[in-house]
């Protein structure tokens, strides 16, 4: 299960780090370090890592919190293990015996404490490593012969990447497999029967997935644009503290507060289950959308807007005619990220939808513990394809809209 979580979270941290990399000067720092005789890895760690880590720190916290409280991975990979606290919590919450709800509430608080404890341990480690790093740096340790270590890390990353892709390919083969007996390397025949059979049942979950993803992303994008535009007008950014608030829903274990939200919705007697589902998805979609859109938004040359305003356009008109079209690519990319996050939500959908609203993801997890590999393949592929479609659209639409504008290409 630890291996499964490493597989799942590495791509996420990798992407976050990639996004943060342009903000440090990679190539010059490497040359500078090399000129002083430092090895590549030690040069990177001495010069760039502190700045880089500051950027991705909250993302790391989010991963820790997620891993200590994960439900869907635990359900899929270890259905027979004695269950983590989180999976037990979900069972208690959905138990028809209402007294278990109190147990679940108490358990959710314990879960929060556990996650906090894990974060504190990590924070302590973080401090120790920083101290160790300072010590090594001040003694001038060069570690010039680091080729072996470099090769090892490339190898590990390669293994993780290929494991993810191999899993996907295997699922794809299963979803079109006919008869596939044990020693054969490939199925004897290929058929679309699994797809044809699964599709009619998939229409409802697919619809729910699309509607929820679309609206939660749309609302999150509008909120983000509002926040950023306000930031423009006042000339103040929220700073470190607002970053913390943004990451809060990702750091606090989902299971802890989504359960609270569920009780809140039930308590309010609200019948608007769809609205509730979209609202809860926004809680998770918003941070990702904000984080992906904030940097491109702040990077746009303010003088374009000054010129447009000086030409007599109101603030709203400048936003609509200048800023939004110029930022269409990052806005669509942020939307695709948001949509992908919404599609991937398992626990919130399960709890808020209360079994009456199914998405592709909840269905896929429910099926995963069964053993019909063909149907699992169909659902899992669909779950992967949906974000892929969103990202392709985000890449293609701007190219189409601005096909005659060279400066609007990347």
């Amino acid at each position: 299960m630890i291996a499964g979580l490493v597989l799942k979270e590495t791509p996420f941290l990798f992407l976050v780090t990639l996004a943060a990399l342009p903000q440090v000067d990679l190539a010059p720092a490497r040359r500078l370090a090399a000129s002083f005789g430092y090895g590549r890895i030690s040069g990177f760690i001495y010069l760039l890592w502190p700045a880089l880590y500051r950027q991705i720190r909250f993302a790391v916290y989010a991963v820790i919190a997620y891993s200590t409280s994960v439900v869907d991975v635990a359900l899929i990979l270890g259905p027979n293990l004695p269950g983590t606290l989180a999976t037990r919590l979900v069972q208690w919450m959905s138990d028809p015996d209402l007294t278990f709800r109190f147990l679940a509430s108490a358990g959710a608080v314990v879960q929060l404490a556990m996650t906090l404890a894990a974060l504190v341990v990590w924070y302590t480690l973080e401090r120790c490593c920083a101290a160790l790093l300072r010590l090594l740096r001040d003694r001038g340790c060069r570690f010039a012969r680091d080729a072996g270590l470099r090769r090892l890390s490339t190898f590990v990353i390669g293994i993780i990447g290929s494991a993810v892709f191999a899993g996907l390919i295997l699922l794809a083969i299963w979803s079109v497999a006919g008869l596939w007996q044990f020693p054969d390397p490939l199925p004897q025949s290929f058929t679309l029967r699994s797809w044809v059979r699964a599709l009619p049942q998939m229409i409802d979950p697919l619809f729910t997935t699309l509607v929820t993803g679309f609206f939660s992303t749309l609302i999150a994008i509008m909120l983000t644009i509002g926040c950023l535009e306000r930031e423009n007008q006042t000339g103040r950014t929220g700073g470190e503290r607002s970053l913390f608030i943004l990451y809060l829903p990702l750091i606090v274990p989902q299971i802890t507060f989504v359960f609270g939200l569920q009780l809140l919705f039930i308590g309010s007697g609200s019948q608007h289950r769809y609205a509730a589902l979209i609202l809860v998805h926004i809680v998770f979609v918003l941070p990702y959308v904000f984080l992906s859109l904030a940097d491109p938004w702040r990077a746009l040359d303010r003088r374009y807007e000054i010129i447009a305003t000086a030409l007599g356009r109101s603030r709203l008109a400048v936003l609509v005619t200048i800023r939004l079209p110029m930022l269409i690519r990052p806005i669509l990319t942020a939307s695709a990220v948001g949509f992908a996050v919404s599609v991937g939500q398992y626990l919130p959908t399960l709890l808020i939808g209360e079994g009456r609203l199914q998405t592709i993801t909840t269905e896929a997890v429910a099926l995963a513990s069964g053993n019909n590999r063909r149907v699992i393949g169909v659902y899992a592929l669909l779950q992967t394809i949906l974000p892929l479609i969103a990202f392709s659209l985000a890449a293609m639409l701007p190219a189409l809209l601005h096909r005659n504008r060279r400066d609007m290409r990347v």
């Binding site: 000339g235 447009a308 305003t309 000086a310 007599g312 356009r313 200048i322 504008r405 609007m408």
Partner: protein, 223 residues
């Protein structure tokens, strides 16, 4: 010091811009239509804050005082979008998602409603800049000099009350710079606009031929 003929031109009276305890700008002047006030100073002396202040884009960290009026209209009482203060920066800053024609059309005042008239106006100003027939071009495909001329056409077609030039020639190469200087100051005189030019280049000031106001440390020569 307030001039008697403040109905005609741009009046700055006791304009002071402060950052903390530093006084960046302290200026009173009258600029008649068609004349240029040159504000000179080294980089970082805060000379551009004067333009931001007049245009209405000054960062709130600066403290300001004084009055600015054009043809008797109190400019500071108006929101930035109603001041009609045309600005040219050192970069042409053509909107990259619009064609050249759309860039010009964006600037044409809203009271010209007839589409035919708007198109006619855009074609006219482009022809004036030796850019006839460029309406459908992508701004990214133009040369540096062409972009600068489109930027000039864009600001002139918006019928501004005054013109603010923020080192508009500093990024052009020497030959183009002389050409653009000549073109800008000719057009400005034709349009009969009061102009404030901010620069650190003596040659700009000579070409402008107006009053020069120096800012920044007095004992340092200009960069």
């Amino acid at each position: 010091m307030r001039h008697a003929n403040s109905r005609n031109g741009l009046s700055l009276s006791n304009v002071v811009i402060r950052l903390g305890s530093d006084v960046l700008i302290d200026l009173s002047a009258h600029i008649s239509s068609g004349e240029v006030l040159t504000v000179m100073g080294p980089s970082g002396s805060g000379k551009s804050t004067l333009l931001s202040f007049i245009g209405g884009f000054l960062d709130p960290v600066f403290e300001t005082a004084g009055e600015v009026s054009v043809d008797g209209i109190d400019l500071l009482a108006l929101p930035p979008e109603a001041r009609r203060a045309g600005i040219l920066f050192q970069d042409p800053l053509l909107f990259p998602h619009m064609s050249v024609g759309a860039n010009i059309a964006f600037a044409i005042p809203a009271d010209v409603k007839d589409r035919h008239a708007r198109r006619h106006l855009a074609a006219g100003i482009l022809a004036e800049m030796d850019l006839a027939g460029f309406e459908n071009r992508d701004p990214a495909t133009l040369s540096g000099g062409q972009k600068a001329r489109v930027a000039l056409a864009r600001v002139l077609v918006s019928r501004p009350r005054l013109l603010l030039l923020d080192e508009p020639f500093s990024k052009l190469d020497t030959e183009l710079r002389a050409q653009m200087r000549g073109l800008v100051f000719t057009k400005v005189r034709d349009a009969d606009l009061p102009v404030i030019l901010v620069t650190h280049d003596e040659a700009d000031a000579d070409a402008a031929g107006g009053v020069i106001h120096n800012v920044g440390p007095k004992d340092q020569p200009y960069a």
